[in-house]
Symmetry: C2
Subunit: 335 residues, 2 copies
DNA sequence: AAAAAGTATGTAAACGTTTACGGAACTTTT
DNA sequence: AAAAGTTCCGTAAACGTTTACATACTTTTT
């Protein structure tokens, strides 16, 4: 038997839909006997209210849309958890989407979220996104937007990000202090601001130590491990290979680790390695990975808090917020 | 400016909503000039059709609901990817939810999915779920259901699972062949059939080799690493500790690895370790983890295929399907 | 005994969209 | 010049739910 509506129940009991609706909502002005009958029948028929009907009628859907580049990445899945928990506590649902870093998908997802009339959107912008009209459209439609981890200045929205410059600086500084001479950096896609900032912080650390960065020691890669693995191999096969690598993320560091193992390079003796993110597997690697930590779960929570505050704020001119998380050096044994 | 509807466009152009709708759908029977005006205005106002209105009107929502215990788990996130890709190719959307292995959440999620009128549901049942009425309700409502990885015989739905008995057997067999004598098993929550089957397969392997399993060598844990870490410590601190451990999953194996490192036990010399899942980090661990592989991505694809075939099948009596994936031994260096 | 208050229910509109049906205004065919 | 066909558009109902308003009946108050 297909799904049953309030109308069906009304017909079966020979009463009006209004009464059924009132009974289901436990309103004061409905006969206890009628209420009993309605609730009993509704239960027996597995009645569940149509969220479409309600969404259509009410202005609010109590749903927020969440867009991540990929779900298959511990950093993002932890953010999802933090965000979801805060949202649920406040009675909001979360619709999760992956852009796979594909611009067209991202645009489509935003269209869908608008179509679904979500109350707000949280996004970590995909690395191939260069045109931000789809995101700025949200402002025109009065839909609050929060960007986490990967934000962009051209977009009107809250920002929940890391101090990537400082993170990069700390990584560089630590490698220098450990006495390394030939320090390389495997950076991420140069379209991402986060990538550029980590790189700039890293360069600043070298500069402050009066060390120069050889051009061949600065390379770019994607966050996919296969790519970073190949990039690391190239780097380590240079005539004069580096004795330290700062990887733009732990995932990239994993690629380096793999490459080093293939080349029988000992870490940290022959090669120092530092990552960025602080994945849960870090301590279990051999050697345990030194890294710069990002508080992913907390970032998710904070994103939800800011977004919900905006959504629930009665006055339209809720100010744009920027929350910057401080990255911390996590010393293990890979340096 | 808030979101605009077809009615607003109609009013602005002094035409009827029907004409606007036709224009937006590029119907043949609308004046090219009218069509142009409608499209132009719709674009200028960022019009996006309300999925609620459409969902209400049409019987089908082209959405499938996906429920996983946790997203923060590579096994599940790969399944999500496989499922989503197939679904998208066929024009379906996926709504992702996490039960966190909490029964009440799972029930609530199912209620929500029914309310959202999804065309089908894919679920990996949470480990605390003992009452299956919420799932069998879906059959009453004619909503196709597919269970992946964690299925239950009391539930009416398709099954996409592993041959866990065989997986357990292979793990046991391999440890025996490698010459280990004191073989232990860290099993998962005993409520899960998957756990029981792996354990039974493992026991069968021992039996076939005329080896006995000491009671203290069979322990249970959850899939959370902190738990498995403690469980492993207990096991390895026995007066006569095991010389081999079959962990019910790679995540649990990570806990063992951590414990072994703390106790300065060398793997594989002093302790052989075999996991189950074949996580991507496996090869990067030290030593690289020997494991039983599950084809997570393919399982996700297959789940989507079966579910969609059911959804699109015109005859109501689409038969229940069971697809069993064969686990493979992946030999690395931890044994 | 009339007025007021309370109780239980029904009516109808609204949310945004699609679509079957019908009709007016043309154009073409005979 | 009537008949037939074509082109373009409007009307209205339907989907499921909520809620302001109306209504009818009963009970209480004066």
């Amino acid at each position: 038997m297909p799904q049953v509506s309030i109308k069906d129940i009304a017909r079966m009991l020979n009463i009006s839909v209004a009464t059924v609706s009132r009974a289901l909502h436990d309103r004061y002005d409905v006969n206890p006997e009628t209420k009993r009958k309605v609730l009993e029948l509704a239960d027996r028929l597995n009645y569940r209210p149509s969220s479409h009907a309600i969404g259509l009628l009410k202005k609010r859907t109590h749903t927020i849309g969440l867009v991540v580049p990929e779900i298959d990445n511990q950093f993002f899945s932890e953010i999802i958890n933090g965000l979801e928990n805060v949202a649920y506590q406040q009675g909001y649902n979360v619709m999760i989407f992956q852009s796979q870093n594909i611009y067209e998908r991202e645009v489509k997802i935003i269209d869908q979220l608008i179509g679904a009339r979500v109350d707000g959107v949280a996004i970590s912008i995909g690395s191939s996104t260069q045109d931000f009209r789809h995101l700025n459209m949200l402002k025109d439609l009065d839909i609050p937007l929060a960007m986490f981890d990967r934000a962009n200045d051209q977009v009107y929205g809250h920002k929940i990000i890391n101090d990537n410059f400082e993170g990069g600086y700390k990584a560089g500084e630590f490698l220098i202090k450990s006495g390394r001479q030939r320090i390389a950096h495997i950076a991420g896609p140069s379209t991402l601001k986060l990538t550029r900032l980590r790189m700039q912080g890293f360069k600043a650390a070298l500069r402050d130590a009066q060390m120069e960065l050889r051009p061949e020691y600065l390379v770019h890669t994607t966050f996919r491990m296969e790519d970073s693995h190949q990039t690391a191999l190239n780097l380590l096969n240079l005539p004069e290979p580096p004795d330290a690598i700062f990887a733009v993320s732990d995932y990239v560091a994993l690629g380096v680790l793999k490459a080093a193992r293939e080349l029988n390079l000992h870490i940290p003796a022959e090669l120092a390695l530092i990552g960025f993110t602080n994945l849960a597997v870090g301590p279990l690697l051999e050697p345990p990975l030194t890294t710069i930590s990002q508080q992913s779960y907390e970032m998710g929570q904070e994103t939800a808090r800011i977004l919900l505050e905006n959504i629930e704020s009665p006055n339209k001119d809720f100010k744009l917020q920027t929350r910057i998380f401080k990255p911390e050096l996590v010393v293990r044994n890979s340096v």
